[in-house]
């Protein structure tokens, strides 16, 4: 098992004929993801990726013709809101928006509409999802993770890769890696992902990678304390970031008093989470917890 994506995922790629869309679609295909459709208005009828993937003009047509149940978006920021709504209306259950730079007011409207319909969104401004050995939706390099029992959820993109890389180096496999993205308004929160990992039979521990800004990590700490039985290892980026300075993501603005790394770390530690000092230490902590768990089992 895994969460969100697996071998049954039938993927549609929005913006497949663009440079990034095409590059990552070929990477996903190579990884083994079932890409059933591409979507680029005006290019319907073409076949791409060595004639393996048909392109459609509209998401509705793509879903009707191929039974796609998941959409991944490589579209310009100004088209992202429209593409998310289009995918939801076409009936896919899961939308993964890689696009960064989506206006935040667009996201509030999109979330409101998607919530009404019960469509799950991951992102925007995220690296997507990876269930090692089964399915990759997004841009996480496939070769840096192997299958296993560690669930990974992260607000960051490349920092996540660091962690996957270190886990693999220690022989630790991953159930699913969920990049939720760093934008202030997004689809899937830490709590959403933790809840899914808690319920997932394959996942036996979770790594959670947060950042300064917002209070999603604090809510996650509350959830972990109240509801999680599985061990969680955490990391918060931005301990040395000067308060109030904007750090690339809108999500990284330190909002008056709350949102500081120190508060998030305190909240997580209060919930029993082992918080790593630097990214390389995460894998070490996961391995340690694993050893302890095994020791407990042995006794």
């Amino acid at each position: 098992m895994s969460i969100l994506i697996d071998k049954k995922t039938r993927l549609m790629v929005h913006g497949i004929t663009g440079r990034e869309g095409m590059f990552h679609a070929s990477q996903m295909l190579e990884y083994g993801t079932k890409i059933v459709a591409g979507m680029t208005p005006g290019k319907g009828g073409e076949w791409v990726l060595d004639g393996k993937v048909p392109v459609f003009d509209t998401a509705k047509m793509a879903v009707e013709a191929t039974g796609a149940n998941c959409s991944v978006l490589f579209v310009p920021a100004k088209a992202a809101a429209d593409s998310m709504l289009e995918a939801a209306d076409a009936g896919v259950a899961l939308i993964v928006c890689i696009t960064e730079g989506v206006p935040v007011q667009d996201m509030m409207q999109v979330r409101s509409y998607l919530d009404q319909r019960g469509t799950r969104l991951v992102g925007p401004n995220c690296p997507g999802l990876l269930t090692p050995g089964e399915c990759k939706v997004g841009i996480i390099p496939g070769h840096i993770a192997s299958a296993g029992g560690v669930g990974v959820v992260s607000r960051s993109g490349t920092l996540t890769y660091e962690v996957l890389y270190a886990l693999k180096a220690r022989g630790l496999g991953v159930s699913t890696c969920v990049g939720i993205g760093g934008d202030p308004i997004n689809g899937t929160s830490f709590v959403d992902a933790l809840e899914m990992f808690e319920d997932d039979a394959r996942t036996d521990s979770v790594v959670m990678i947060g950042e300064i800004g917002g209070s999603d990590e604090e809510r996650a700490a509350e959830f972990i304390s109240d509801r999680m039985s599985k061990p969680v290892v955490g990391f918060i980026a931005g301990r040395t970031a000067p308060p109030g300075k904007r750090m690339g993501h809108a999500g990284a603005i330190v909002e008056g008093g709350s949102g500081l790394a120190v508060d998030k770390i305190k909240a997580l530690e209060g919930a029993g989470v082992k918080v790593a000092e630097h990214p390389d230490a995460i894998a070490e902590l996961v391995a340690e917890r694993g050893r302890k768990a095994r020791r407990r089992v042995k006794r």
């Binding site: 890689i98 960051s156 920092l159 890389y165 990391f235 040395t240 750090m247 690339g248």
Partner: protein
């Protein structure tokens, strides 16, 4: 993007929010002539994009045009929190009976706009929120419906605003919400919104922050950006779609992804060094972006070593490597540089750099150690 007070108030006025009569001046002489036009007492207000102008002496009352000239001369010579004052707003002085706070911003947790009001405006709203949270009224707005009249009325009732001001307050609140919507703002606030001696409401000060991601559809707002207020390196960075913030240390950082960039800074600190900057080359960065990023980092004279940390996702390692090599053709590498490339096309990227004798590291901790050592050697040398 932060807007100046005078810009924010102009945008408020477009939504029929009453603001004091007044204009912005670039020189003290201009300030004097505005004061002459307005007659009576005026307030001369430094226009800089930082808080705490009042405490720094950047907001002062002038009883005559001559006094306005004198005060404007002083304020235009000031620096506030390191920023030189280049403009002053000269506003008619108001007869203040009470000060209200009114603002709208995005509530991340609720995923919708939140309107905030308090009968105790004028002071730091964060302070009130901390010490007397019950004095702050919060109201969430459905992003598809907008702020409805009854909600603005609920807010007026929540802060126990005297009923005779409700009509004016409702119109101002709805105007402020419209300004927030129309400008794709992440913050729009009036602080203080004053009740004047004449019993009217007036937006005495205004602040707006606009979502940079929405500027593509707000060309008039994009023109309002005050280039004077930005460090040259930050403006230059923005041109290339880079996110750059100057810091105090001596190790220049170039990283892809904000989270990894922050983690890199954290690890440099753990290794005993200090980052000279935050620089996120972003996703999908091509060779030209990387070259520009390197030029920006090297133009900072306190940089003694550079740590380039790229984990390839959207940005492919070979592209990054080519960017570095291209930049090095224009910018001689005046300090040592440690690079770390992992991820998509990593072998190709490393091969390209190794061919030019650039040192590479595999783990982040190792890269940080090498960079810190290199910076110290530079100092020792």
């Amino acid at each position: 993007m932060k807007l100046h007070e005078y810009q924010s108030k102009q945008l408020f006025a477009q939504q029929a929010i009453p603001i004091p009569r007044g204009r912005v001046a670039m020189t003290a002489a201009e300030a004097k002539s505005i004061a002459e036009e307005l007659r009576g007492r005026v307030v001369v207000k430094a226009q800089v994009l930082v808080g705490g102008r009042g405490k720094a002496g950047g907001i002062r009352l002038a009883n005559s045009p001559e006094e306005a000239l004198e005060i404007a001369t002083q304020i235009l010579a000031m620096q506030i929190k390191g920023l030189p004052v280049r403009k002053v707003l000269v506003d008619e002085a108001a007869n203040i009976q009470a000060e209200i706070y009114l603002g709208v911003t995005n509530d991340r947790a609720a995923r919708r706009p939140v309107m905030i009001a308090s009968a105790e405006g004028g002071v730091e709203i964060e302070e009130v929120a901390r010490t007397a949270p019950s004095k702050i009224a919060r109201l969430h707005v459905d992003p598809l419906l907008g702020l409805r009249e009854y909600q603005a009325r609920d807010l007026a009732a929540s802060i126990e605003l005297p009923r005779e001001h409700w009509r004016a307050f409702i119109d101002i609140a709805r105007g402020l919400y419209e300004a927030y919507r129309e400008c794709d703002a992440t913050l729009a606030e009036i602080n203080p919104l004053v009740i004047t001696g004449a019993g009217t409401l007036l937006a005495l000060d205004g602040k707006m922050v606009v979502d940079d991601n929405a500027l593509f559809r707000r060309p008039k707002l994009a023109e309002m950006r005050d280039l004077d207020e930005e460090a040259a390196a930050e403006s230059e960075a923005r041109k290339y779609g880079l996110s750059y913030v100057k810091l105090d240390g001596d190790i220049g950082c170039m990283v892809n992804g904000a989270g990894l960039a922050m983690a890199t800074m954290d690890v440099i600190k753990l290794a005993g060094g200090a980052p000279a900057n935050f620089l996120d080359i972003g996703g999908g960065a091509g060779a030209d972006k990387v070259a520009a990023a390197l030029e920006i980092i090297l133009s900072d004279k306190s940089v003694r070593a550079v740590l380039l940390n790229v984990f390839g996702g959207i940005t492919r390692c070979d592209e990054v490597a080519r960017g570095i090599l291209m930049a090095l053709q224009d910018v001689p590498l005046s300090v040592p540089m440690v690079t770390r490339l992992v991820g998509t096309n990593e072998e190709e990227g490393r091969r390209l750099l190794a061919a030019k004798d650039l040192p590479t590291a595999t783990t982040l901790a190792e890269a940080a150690r090498l960079a810190v050592a290199a910076a110290r050697q530079g100092v020792a040398a």
